[in-house]
Symmetry: C2
Subunit: 438 residues, 2 copies
């Protein structure tokens, strides 16, 4: 008979292991219902002075209210026997049974909604600030420390929102399963916070430290037991996620910290370090990438390349064409003679690199290897002529290889990438599109 009943409904038998487990579980469920009271302790500094006295008063009122409501709900449950349901809360069932579906019923439900909405806001008040503190110490990405122009920590708020959405979707907004997730996290925090207090009073040994230590130590012990009980009893109902995630989060935090330390060590300049500015400016090799047609965008790129190389007799200016379609090369050479040679003639040389497999990135890399070998120690500046069609839709109709080429080039030391742009629509038109009027 016993085996057929779900474990939850067995009669507690003190002394028996199963009975102890059921009692611990009931205790932990009760504790979870009480969470939120700690907000007063967390926010003591926000009270009017004398802060601790006012906070203590508030805590007494809060606890009294909570106890009253808790006992009241317990009593009402005893009378009306509401059934746990995924579609209607116990509070709502009790209100309906007691007052009927009248104004009071709706008032109670909307009041509950309002209270829960305020409660949901506490995460937004707390997490971004906490994340900023942790990030300042280097254990979370530095972007969490950045105050946006509305004086809030944008990254923290966005991260919290994304996590909240993911949790709701993953757990299908099932409150019963989300409670398990919540309870482990909250009691683990309570335990750690109280252990922190124990550590602190033991170190400082201020007046009354023994009592304070016993008080917080007992608290830590109780909440610690609750944490373990919840982690075990609700393991399949969400607690597993926390048990797995927390060690991962801790490891990632340490890894982030180590990265930032390495970054500072590597990037910081010391007085005895080599300073490139102490040497004369390096000679330049300026390469302009040329397409199979010498159009206005290419001229703009050549103009930028010339402006950069100008005035440096030790610099080289070259144009490179990756020849994917040899049929187009005669036309390119013809246009080159017509539009470029009359002005840049002896200053620039056009190199044509055959690409029989119609690759773009690889021949450019090969060409750079060859150019590097030719004159080492130069700064290689490569100009990528781009054009701006004036709308992002039409921009899609032109090829994206430029982006891939740019990131491949930025992976080479000694290479500096210059993006020149030809604007196909006049500025006034483009500003008009954005709604700006000069």
């Amino acid at each position: 008979m016993m085996g057929a009943l779900p474990a939850e409904y067995t009669t507690p038998q003190p002394g028996h292991l199963l009975g102890l487990y059921v009692i611990m579980r009931a205790f932990s469920n009760g504790c979870a219902a009480m969470t939120g009271v700690e907000a007063v302790a967390d926010g003591t500094s926000a009270f009017k002075p004398p802060e601790s006295k006012n906070a203590a008063k508030t805590l007494v009122i809060l606890i009294a209210t909570l106890a009253f409501l808790f006992l009241g709900v317990g009593f009402a449950t005893h009378i009306y026997h509401p059934k746990p349901s995924e579609v209607e809360t116990i509070i709502s069932q009790l209100a309906r049974a007691n007052f009927g579906q009248g104004i009071l019923f709706y008032l109670i439900n909307f009041a509950t909604l309002a209270v829960l909405m305020v409660a949901a806001n506490t995460a937004y008040a707390g997490f971004p600030r906490l994340a900023a503190i942790v990030a300042k110490d280097g254990y979370m990405p530095k972007s969490f420390t950045r105050l946006g122009d509305r004086l809030v920590y944008t990254s923290g708020i966005l991260t919290l929102t994304i996590i909240a959405v993911l949790l709701i979707v993953m757990f299908e907004a099932n409150v019963t399963r989300l409670i398990g997730l919540y309870a482990v996290g909250v009691f683990l925090t309570f335990t750690l916070a109280q252990l922190g207090v124990v550590n602190r009073v033991r170190r400082l040994k201020e007046k009354g430290w023994v009592q304070a230590m016993i008080m917080s130590g007992t608290g830590a012990l109780v909440t610690g037991i609750v944490t373990i009980v919840i982690a075990i009893s609700k393991f399949t109902q969400g607690a597993a996620v926390v048990v797995v995630l927390i060690p991962i989060i801790v490891l990632v935090s340490y890894w982030i910290k180590r990265h930032y330390e390495w970054f500072d060590e590597t990037m910081t300049l010391h007085p005895y370090d080599f300073n490139p500015l102490s040497e004369p400016a390096e000679p330049l090799t300026v390469l302009v990438l040329v397409s199979s047609d010498v159009h206005r965008g290419i001229l703009e790129g050549l103009e930028a390349g010339r402006a950069i190389a100008e005035g440096r007799p030790d610099s080289i200016l070259r144009a490179v064409h990756i020849e994917m379609d040899p049929e187009k090369t005669p036309r390119l050479k013809e246009k080159w003679v017509q539009f470029v040679e009359p002005y840049l003639g002896e200053k620039i040389k056009l190199d044509i690199v055959p690409s029989p497999y119609r690759w773009l990135v690889e021949p450019v890399m090969d060409y750079l290897d060859w150019a590097d070998m030719e004159r080492s120690g130069d700064r290689v500046i490569i100009v990528l002529p781009e054009f701006e069609t004036g709308s992002w839709i039409t921009q899609f109709l032109h090829n994206f290889t430029a982006r891939r080429l740019r990131s491949a080039l930025l992976n080479r030391p000694h290479v500096t990438v210059v993006s020149s742009r030809y604007f196909m629509k006049p500025m006034a038109w483009r500003l008009g599109r954005g709604g700006l009027v000069y």
Copy 2:
């Protein structure tokens, strides 16, 4: 009584409108079952010479086989009365009824699977080539004309795959609904192709053109009627998608064509056009963006800026710091005096632009407006110092504002963006990561 029966099962009554509709519908369903025969006509050029004779022979064999199979299936259906089902095909039901669930049953089903797999391949053989032809004429994005290094049209293949996946997901792999989509498209194409032939023979007036015109004209009429019947009768079963999509595709094609024409007109150089290369090189204003710490990445940026401005007495070199946190400015100035001034002293000036709202992009834009006003006609070169941590994971830990700043800068004419990179890990290590050994 009539109203209660689904339209499909009413008895055809010739002369009556509903009866005509049912006959047309049966005719169009039969036609849809015959599609695929046109592949011989489409691929005539691929036959051994004499091409048209061999193609004609093949067509006769194909039609005979098809007719035999069609009649056979019809006859078997008459005997075994299989029921249309979403989980087992008619062919499979007939095979089971005739041969039992033995080797022959499996042989027939696997043979059908093999034939359908070959059939699915025809789209991959046809669409990319067709798309390349259309794209060469400028009615589809130019990237469809690009042969990849495996000598196939990569864009066409990828596009076809994406569309196929979308269709399967949207129609939940329901063959009945997909048939509607397919049939309208295929008969519309048949009609247009035959109208094209009519037009051509009428224009060329070769021997026997009248017969050819009557033949193709009749074909166009019949398939045209089928197209309309299917579009109406299967409107809710997928045909609606085609009826809506085809005009949109045609409009988009014309819009793409117009864009490419505009692009060519705008970009093509004419001998009488202004050629910027005919003027002396513009003076440069080189701006280096400096963060709140003068680290190695910033030095690399300053080095690039100096190399570009070097040798041009008419050029200006400036460093700009956007001051989001005024507390860090004294340290920046101290490091500037220590690491930069001894070498670049009189050559560079450090401008500090306050940003009380902690914006980055907007103050840079304001600064450029001011700089532009100061000396117009310059080419403004802005150096964005970046650093490469050596792995993309750690790169995420640093801020992304650089990317946003870069695209905002590229929206300004007269501004050329230079990306300088400091490599935090030595090259050998980075190549090792990529698996390359020099």
